[in-house]
């Protein structure tokens, strides 16, 4: 069989016979079961060769400039939320207008199709304000807890807490009532004495399902940030962020912005500590040098010794 050879400018050359062999092997393999280890190795080889072929051929296709992946909003969130990103995630969809909380009116844009639309022009500055709070708390070695008790936002709070290192915590399943108000019984005397129990900031991604947590934070004087939807009174938390609480993409964007702000705060603290340490070290060095100089100087004769009585 005559094999076609592509004459190309770059040194890599292909033959379509190679493609045919791959597909033939694949189709043959589709029938037979894999018995020995050699069968498995052949199976892997075929797949590897096909992948190599696809990778090599893909350079002759269109050039993909954007490397966007569907899971990027969870694993690689952006530092700042943009209006278009929030709109794309559906952050502006509220709940039914009949269920709208009257205290939510300042953040409502209007009604369409029976639902309240949330004004994202209010959302963005409030989100930035919340981010500032998170950054400041993290920079002062504060403990931040992310609460998101639905299955679709469980990985979101986990990732957000991981970004804050030792200062980040998350609750993905039910918040047990009494975590803060009944901490002696819940965690035991030893833990309460040795560890910091009351957090310095609590961020809720679904506040309606976690009213217990909000109540406990209020009783324990813990500042709270939450995504408030149109059926929620924004005054239940200190820093409300009006947005759709049912959309996982919105939760990813908001939790991403807040956790990245927290990470920045930790970095600021680390840089500050480093700077102070270096300043102290240099001060000690100077002090030691001075001591050495004093020690090596000739001892001064006191006036009392000058006169020999």
């Amino acid at each position: 069989m005559h094999s076609l050879r592509l004459r190309l400018s770059n040194p890599v050359r292909f033959s379509f016979k190679f493609c045919k062999n791959c597909t033939r092997q694949l189709s043959q393999q589709a029938q037979g079961p894999l018995e020995t280890e050699n069968d498995w190795t052949d199976f892997q080889q075929t797949r590897t060769s096909l992948k190599t072929l696809m990778d090599a051929m893909s350079q002759y296709g269109s050039t993909q400039t954007s490397q966007w992946s569907l899971r990027d909003s969870l694993h690689r969130p952006t530092k700042d939320a943009t209006l278009s990103a929030l709109l794309a995630s559906g952050a502006h969809f509220g709940h039914a207008s009949s269920r709208m909380n009257p205290n939510f009116l300042p953040y409502a844009y209007g009604t369409r199709a029976g639902i309240t639309l949330i004004d994202l022009d209010h959302t963005l500055p409030l989100l930035r304000r919340a981010a500032k709070v998170v950054r400041a708390v993290a920079a002062n070695d504060g403990q931040i807890v992310f609460i998101g008790t639905r299955a679709d936002i469980r990985p979101v709070v986990q990732k957000a807490a991981q970004r804050l290192g030792t200062q980040g915590f998350h609750v993905g399943d039910r918040w047990l009532p009494g975590t803060l108000t009944n901490k002696w019984q819940m965690f035991g005397h030893e833990t309460v004495r040795s560890k910091r129990i009351v957090p310095d900031l609590v961020i809720l991604l679904n506040p309606i399902q976690n009213m217990n947590a909000i109540q406990e934070c209020a009783l324990s004087n813990v500042p709270t940030i939450a995504i408030v939807d149109s059926n929620v009174d924004p005054r239940i938390v200190m820093y409300p962020i009006p947005a759709n609480d049912e959309s996982p993409r919105t939760a990813e964007i908001i939790a991403g912005v807040l956790s990245i702000a927290g990470r920045e705060g930790i970095a600021i603290r680390e840089a500050e500590t480093q700077r102070m340490r270096m300043a102290v070290d240099s001060a000690w060095e100077d002090f030691n040098k001075m001591q050495v100089m004093q020690d090596t100087r000739q001892p001064q004769r006191s006036d009392a010794e000058a006169f020999d009585y």
Binding site: Q29, A30, Q31, G32, P33, L34, E35, E37, D39, W40, T41, F43, Q44, R47, T48, K51, D141, Q143, V145, Q158, A161, Q162, T166, Q167, G168, F169, H170, V171, G172, D173, W175, L176, T179, W184, M186, F187, H189, T191, V192, R193, S194, K195, R196, I197, V198, P199, S220, S302, A304, E305
Partner: protein, 367 residues
């Protein structure tokens, strides 16, 4: 005198107390915590006894006041676990570890082109049955009561890891398999071997003379069965007599001589016809030999005890079927399909109170 003076002056030159950065800050007396124990003891300084008494008193007292300063001092450490505020940090930590292990293994297998696996490859994987720990055993591992939903969540993750282990072992990647195995072994039941060995029959060994020794049971009868292949006669039937030649028909093609053997069945040292006069019982005993197609191939010696005719003949048949399987494993499929290898579980049903027999009711009386 000069020496004394110089010493005095040098003492005055040195600072009386060292001012270091680690000195404690000044605390106003109003904020100092005084204990009754200290005054009661009348101690001017803290000695060991007073300190112990103070500690005991502090430990006993319940600090219920949330405004108590030591509750949230900045000197205290952060909690260790990311899942601290769930109240079940050990459980969630383990779940997260398992999920991480699964995603890492999935990535490795994808890079090795072993995932996603097509249907025919799934069927080719080595079976690796595992037995996980019971919920009670897992309670100690996870430090939380293992409810059914939590147990199911954990076992779902473990089953997925086990699938990856199967793929890695079958494809021959021992290091990957070892790493997965080390995680899985933590959650495997200690009684795994015993559990998997349940219902698995030990293969019957033939002794030095080629005899099989098997056991059969039915109702309350038990039979011990020895089977040995019949030695074919050295002289074949019809080999010395040439009938065709005698009649002058030697040009016809001769059929090959059939090697026919006859088996003897002895039950309690009596021939089968004597021990079981009823043909039903004899049929039952011979049925496994007929179905396997080895009717004249084996001599059978049986000792049977207990029960009556049906039970004893059924027990002998069960023993014979197992013996045939021991001599010729290829017959296993057909004997299984005929349900001859199965110990018949039907036993005499007990009599119940209020009934005449197991099922028979007394005559119904209207009044």
């Amino acid at each position: 005198m000069n020496v004394l003076r110089s010493q005095a002056f040098s003492v005055l030159r040195r600072p009386l107390c060292r001012r270091l950065a680690t000195t404690r800050p000044f605390v106003p007396p109003a904020q100092l915590v005084f204990h009754d124990t200290l005054f009661a003891a009348g101690a001017k300084e803290l000695d060991d006894n007073t300190v112990d008494a103070l500690e005991a008193e502090t430990n006993e007292r319940e600090f219920e006041d949330d405004d108590f300063d030591a509750n949230n001092s900045q000197d205290k450490a952060h909690p260790d676990s990311l899942n601290f505020y769930t109240g079940r940090s050990s459980y969630y930590d383990n779940i997260v570890e398992l999920q991480n292990a699964i995603s890492r293994t999935r990535g490795t297998l994808q890079r090795l082109h072993l995932l996603p696996l097509p249907e025919f490859a799934w069927k080719s994987l080595k079976p690796m049955p595992t037995v996980w720990k019971t919920p009670e055993e897992m309670t100690t591992d996870f430090e939380t009561a293992m409810t059914i939903s939590r147990y199911r969540k954990v076992t779902a993750l473990l089953n997925e890891l086990n699938e990856y282990l199967r793929i890695a072992t079958t494809a021959g990647y021992a290091d990957v398999a070892e790493r997965i195995g080390s995680i899985i072994s933590i959650f495997e039941s200690g009684k795994k071997e015993a559990f998997l060995a349940r219902g698995v029959r030990k293969p019957v060994q033939l002794d030095q003379y080629g005899r099989s020794y098997t056991f059969g049971k039915r109702k309350t009868s038990a039979a011990r069965v020895w089977m040995i292949p019949v030695k074919p006669p050295s002289r074949q039937l019809g080999s010395d007599v040439n009938v065709e030649e005698a009649f002058g028909l030697s040009d016809k093609p001769r059929r090959p001589p059939v090697n026919v053997t006859v088996s003897t069945i002895l039950i309690n040292n009596l021939p089968i016809a004597e021990y079981f006069p009823q043909p039903v019982d004899r049929e039952r005993i011979v049925r496994p030999l007929k179905i396997a197609g080895v009717l004249g191939k084996y001599n059978v010696f049986t000792i049977v005890r207990g029960g009556g005719t049906t039970g004893q003949s059924g027990a002998v048949a069960h023993g014979i079927a197992k013996g045939i399987f021991a001599h010729e494993p290829e017959t296993g499929a057909i004997l299984k399909r005929a349900k001859l290898l199965r110990r018949d579980p039907r036993m005499v049903e007990r009599k119940k109170t209020g009934l005449a027999k197991a099922r028979k009711r007394y005559t119904w009386v209207k009044r």
